[in-house]
């Protein structure tokens, strides 16, 4: 097999340890080339022109959608391209959220990203519904007993991420969906943190809504995906309005285009969609079993190495099998931003802050954390480099005292 690092120009050319793939992943040569080729050879506005180039751009866009549909085991009409997962979440909260009535409940896990929380806050306020949260147990996992209890309120919607972007906790999505369906709730799953690492089959999972961002799975920024069951999309009002999503426009009335165009107003990111299709091909060529093998080994190694450092406090589940790719930690007595700056000076790139999950951090009694995240181009050397830099940071702070 090819050396995976060599496939990523930005990784191969530099000596730094890039440990922030949960924020955005780097892109492989094949994706960069596919986007470049699209703009050099096939670019025009899709759906509009009758000339051959526009037809080519339309084909490029349609083939990309079909690829995403096949990847998720969904139908072509069930795939809506968005700017990112955030836009997809806003679409669902605005559009499906418009069916909420006074007294209804919406249930989210407390480990959700702000992009899940904030749109549902507004939807609930607008329609007089109540927003509830599933608590965590003291092992950084969802408390399924609490979930069961909350389900007695018969929520209309349950929103959950497959993997926490702060804790790396992997949720049992299948079980959660089954439990939620048993009380008639629709389930919205944010798979942004897992899609580069594990396949998601919407039919097998019986998910109602699924969202992810392309840029966290080796595709360019600016393209994301919403999957929703066809009957739901049919019933939902459109989100953004404008060109390309209409059928007939009269002075006072409009009828809308069929799925999926109904949810794609304006000129779309065709180059991004082509990049996404290529990124999926890239992942499938390596194979998800191989990806899992590489990344599980890395996560295991990082857990073990960090645990050896007495001055590091880690926030991850003790069940290694429920833990993927993301590790939050703090150096005792040093603010994460100082740690991240010092690591930066040693060529180790991690994120510090609240990771767009303030309610989660607050519930853990934390203000902010450092976060490392691993991807298939990372190596054990990256983690060794991190460990050395952490020791340096600790000494730098505590030798002055």
């Amino acid at each position: 097999m090819k050396n995976l690092r060599d496939e990523f120009p930005l990784i191969a050319k530099n000596k730094f340890a890039y440990l922030d793939s949960s924020a955005t992943s780097q892109q492989p040569k094949c994706v960069l080339k596919a986007v470049d080729d699209y703009y050099k050879k096939s670019h025009a506005n899709p759906h509009r022109g009758t000339y051959c180039l526009s037809v080519e751009a339309t084909n490029a866009y349609d083939f990309s959608r079909q690829k995403v549909a096949d990847f998720l085991n969904a139908h072509f009409e069930e795939i809506v391209f968005t700017k990112n997962a955030t836009e997809a979440l806003n679409l669902v909260a605005f559009s499906y959220g418009s069916f909420l009535k006074k007294g209804d409940h919406v249930l989210l896990s407390l480990m959700e990203h702000h992009s899940m929380i904030v749109p549902w806050q507004r939807a609930c306020k607008t329609h007089g519904a109540t927003l509830d949260y599933i608590k965590l147990n003291n092992n950084f996992e969802l408390d399924l007993d609490d979930f069961e209890k909350q389900l007695r309120k018969k929520p209309k919607i349950v929103g959950i991420s497959s993997v926490s972007n702060v804790l790396g906790t992997k949720n049992n999505v299948k079980q959660i969906i089954e439990m939620a369906h048993s009380v008639g709730a629709k389930v919205l799953v944010d798979i942004s943190q897992s899609i580069a690492h594990e396949k998601f089959d919407v039919e097998k999972m019986d998910a109602d809504f699924v969202v992810f961002s392309g840029h966290k799975m080796y595709a360019p920024m600016g393209v994301g995906v919403l999957f929703a069951k066809e009957e739901l999309l049919e019933a939902m009002p459109p989100f953004l309005l404008g060109g390309d999503m209409i059928e007939y426009v009269y002075e006072q009335e409009t009828t809308f285009a069929p799925l999926p165009q109904k949810f794609e107003a304006g000129t779309q990111n065709v180059g991004g969609a082509v990049g996404l299709k290529t990124a999926i091909n890239f992942l499938e060529e390596i194979g998800f079993d191989k990806i899992k093998e590489i990344e599980t080994e890395l996560t295991k190694y990082a857990r073990a190495e960090l645990k050896k450092l007495k001055f590091v406090e880690c926030y991850f589940t003790s069940n290694a099998k429920n833990h993927e790719n993301v590790i939050s930690f703090n150096l005792k007595g040093i603010h994460p931003h100082d740690v991240a700056s010092i690591l930066d000076s040693k060529g180790v790139f991690v994120r510090a802050g609240n990771h767009c999950a303030q309610p989660l951090l607050r519930s853990l009694g934390l203000n902010s954390t450092c976060r490392l995240s691993l991807s298939l181009y990372n190596t054990k050397q990256d983690i060794d480099k991190l460990v050395e830099a952490l020791k340096y940071a600790y000494e730098m702070f505590f030798k002055t005292k």
């Binding site: 040093i334 603010h335 994460p336 931003h337 100082d338 700056s341 010092i342 930066d344 000076s345 510090a352 802050g353 609240n354 203000n367 902010s368 730098m396 702070f397 002055t400 005292k401």
Partner: protein, 142 residues
Amino acid sequence: MELKDIYTNLVMEHSSNSPYKTELKNATHKQHGHNPSCGDDITIFVNLENGKIKDASFSGVGCAISQASTSIMIETLIGKTTLEAKQIAQIFVKMIDREKLLPEEKKLLKNARAFENIKDMPARVKCALLPWKTLLKLLEEN
């Protein structure tokens, strides 16, 4: 730029062991400031008497740079009139904005000049600026 040009002994000392980190009793004014993206969160307490900062202190959480910048700012400004404090805060902002300072302006900043090199660490500029912006808000609103 060397990292040690930012994390100097002075900065480390002020961040870990500030004499001003306490909630001032009888404060006449207080102002809350925060950087939402990173969680730096401070409150500045000031005792104003006849247009003069008679005493000041702070509380809150944050990185070493924001904590030290707050502590050093308070050290620099105690005893100054509100007008002088405003002027010094503006000079600090100017320094961070990479504008050239006059020799007399540099003198007024005293220990706060320790943050001159923060301009070479763009990701941390907002940490150093937080207390000064918070103070300017306090002075402008009162």
